[in-house]
């Protein structure tokens, strides 16, 4: 009888290709996702050393960060640096024979949306990408995390990573969520509890009834922001919903292999009595729709709250809060619902999936956005866009006054033309509210797609439950 294992322990053990005497491990990587920003130097390194890609069939590339999301992108990317970066990925994909979804392919989109959509991401896999939001794939019970460019090169050359095992952390969300509360509110509420470094050194397994009740899209939203809590990865044990989502996707196993895969996937859960080094439990019914007020994802408050004062904090957070308030142009004591918004961004690898668009459209149906509001919806992939058009969601957005865009990372990190101007204030469904993240001097409030839609209508941060 072996000791009880966590889900993370099981996936780790199943991928250990080598362990040195000092405990340094080589972890085998099943899927390597690649985008244009963090890979050119890695491919250049391979070429300079005369190396090849070890497993091109396990390597998948798609341009997403730099690509414009306006309809005129068929005419090419006008920013020369962006264009060069995307062209470099085109060339590297071709030269090294890796799977590729170019800008003009309908399947193109944000790498963390394309991977699951195409069935590349499967339960029990190890998945890496030169992008911190790789944690998204943990929703399938895959061990997925971001890596730097040197590690991208290492995985390209060896299909392994040098790793030390992380500790196990359990985040349990018990019971049911209240109406108007979504996966985004769960993940933000967790970061509000742990802080942005609370997960450092850990792999988080999310569990509990409220997590099980989430769709695969919602689970991806939760795992996506595990990195914002500092965790190496976030995981959710696969179940029937997972298998249902995966089945029939282009790169999912078929026939006898499906049966074999399913048999193994069903063993992927944390054993009774397995040890967690840290546990956080939150009651689902205690989670409210939340927004961020500051410049760190841990600056989370229920929408019914007020802007805090620096003296509400201790230690280094006092100065940090002072700096955040100044940057955000907010006064302590002000109700969060008094914060006026001029821009709304719905999209990103956090909230750019079909369910997110459905949630926002449900609020917007038959309504108009506030006069002067700039609002855009950027579907996470070409296929999400197509599905939303088929379901009539696109028309709801357009009728409400939103711009209906092509797929890409867009305003989440503003490496493309979608940016905030200094002083502009955005309700964003993305994942980071850092200074300058959405454009120099731009101010970001993170929230759920339904909350973003509500703010678009009223022109200020709004409790979505009041417009439902």
């Amino acid at each position: 009888m072996t000791a009880p294992k966590t889900l993370y322990d099981k996936i780790w053990d199943a991928h250990l290709a080598h362990e040195a005497e000092d405990g340094t491990c080589l972890l085998y990587i099943d899927r390597h996702l690649v985008h244009e920003v963090t890979s050119p130097q890695a491919f250049e390194g391979l070429r300079m050393a005369g190396r090849t890609v070890h497993a091109p069939d396990k390597t998948i590339a798609v341009p997403d960060h730099n690509v414009p999301t306006t309809l005129d992108r068929v005419n090419g990317i006008s920013n020369p640096e962006s264009r060069i970066q995307v062209e470099a990925l085109d060339k590297n994909a071709k030269d090294f024979g890796i799977n590729y979804y170019p800008v003009d392919d309908v399947r193109q989109g944000i790498v963390h949306i394309v991977g699951p959509e195409q069935g590349w991401t499967l339960p029990g896999m190890t998945v890496v990408c030169g992008d911190s939001h790789t944690a998204t794939h943990g929703a399938f019970g895959a061990l997925a995390h971001g890596i730097g460019t040197s590690e991208v090169e290492h995985v390209l050359a060896t299909q392994t990573l040098i790793q030390k095992k992380s500790k196990n952390m359990k985040v349990e969300i018990t019971g049911k969520l209240r109406p108007g509360v979504t996966a985004k509110d769960i993940t933000l509420a967790v970061i509000g509890e742990t802080g942005t470094a609370g997960g450092t050194g850990y792999v988080i397994e999310y569990c509990g009834e409220a997590i099980r009740d989430l769709s695969m899209e919602g689970r991806m939203t939760v795992c996506n922001m595990a990195i914002e809590g500092g965790a190496r990865a976030g995981l959710i044990a696969p179940d029937e919903k997972t298998f249902e989502y995966v089945k029939g996707r282009p790169h999912a196993p078929k026939g006898a292999q499906w049966e074999a895969a399913l048999a193994w996937w069903k063993t992927l859960y944390t054993d009774e009595g397995a040890h967690f080094d840290k546990v956080l439990t939150i009651r689902g019914e205690d989670i409210a729709p939340v927004v961020t007020w500051g410049t760190s994802p841990e600056d989370v408050l229920p929408i019914s709250g007020t802007v805090p004062a620096p003296e509400d904090f201790t230690g280094g957070k006092v100065e940090a809060a002072k700096r955040s308030l100044e940057y955000m142009g907010l006064t302590p004591g002000m109700p969060l619902t008094d914060i006026k918004i001029d821009t709304v961004f719905i999209g990103s690898c956090t909230n750019g999936r079909i369910e997110d668009l459905r949630a926002a459209a449900a609020i917007l149906k038959g309504k108009k956005i506030k006069d002067g509001m700039r609002a855009m919806v950027v579907p996470g992939s070409g296929l999400v866009r197509a599905q939303a058009e088929e379901e009539g969601l696109a028309q709801i957005f357009i009728d409400a006054g939103f711009e209906w865009r092509l797929a890409g990372c867009s305003m989440c990190l503003a490496m493309n033309p979608d940016q905030l101007q200094p002083g502009e204030r955005c309700a964003a469904t993305s994942n980071r509210n850092f200074e300058g993240r959405q454009g120099r001097g731009g101010r970001t409030h993170l929230l759920s797609p339904a909350m973003a839609a509500a703010a678009a209508i009223t022109g200020h941060l709004t409790d979505v439950r009041e417009v439902m």
């Binding site: 640096e81 290492h154 050194g201 500092g230 280094g316 940090a320 850092f434 300058g436």
Partner: protein, 201 residues
């Protein structure tokens, strides 16, 4: 990668928590396909105003710290995006060592791949080093990776922990990929086993 053995240099104080990689190197500089040349844009939005003039108050613009080789900062340094452009920018500026109370995971890894030594120390010790750094260019700290010590300008000595494998690679300037390729047989044997056990992968 350049070796890191012992470094004596000016330490710049940056008493902020949650210094994220967007702060270290904003997104507009990630469009490069090279690893070099990013030092001029390190902390770009804190260092320059809208007209690209230096902001005199920012620590790295002060005469005493323009040649800093060590940075002392607060909790959760390097959080956020995985961009290795952050350590590339630090290195290109000339910073080879960052001392903080804690580091974000991916940034911490990325440092070692680029010859930068990140050192995590308890708050009380970082407070003392921060004070030492505030003394300016005449106060030089020494970081000795072999001995795993930091010596302040006053001669006070702190010891630090570092993973032995990473220390070995850093002290010898070793290329990870070369080391891993020495284990190619283990990787191939793992792949052969997986081909039978999990052929769908």
């Amino acid at each position: 990668m350049d070796k890191f053995e012992k470094l004596t240099g000016v330490a710049a104080p940056l008493p902020l928590i949650n210094v994220d990689t967007d702060m270290l190197i904003p997104k507009q500089f990630l469009k490069t396909i090279k690893r070099t040349g990013l030092g001029v844009n390190l902390f770009d939005e804190m260092r320059y105003d809208d007209d690209r003039n230096e902001i005199p108050d920012f620590v790295l613009n002060k005469p005493a710290y323009r040649n800093a080789e060590i940075l002392v900062s607060g909790d959760n340094f390097g959080c956020g995006s995985s961009r290795e452009h952050a350590p590339w920018a630090l290195l290109d500026f000339g910073i080879r060592c960052v001392i903080a109370t804690s580091f974000a995971d991916i940034f911490y890894n990325n440092c070692f791949k680029n010859g930068i030594l990140p050192i995590a120390l308890p708050q009380e010790q970082v407070d003392i080093l921060m004070k030492d750094a505030e003394k300016g260019e005449n106060a030089r700290m020494t970081v000795d990776l072999d001995a795993q010590t930091i010596t302040t300008s006053d001669g006070e000595v702190f010891t630090f922990d570092v993973d032995p494998f990473r220390r070995h690679c850093l002290m010898n300037g070793l290329d990870d990929i070369g080391l891993t390729l020495e284990k190619a047989a283990a990787i191939e044997s793992f792949e052969a086993t997986m081909q039978t056990q999990r052929p769908w992968v």
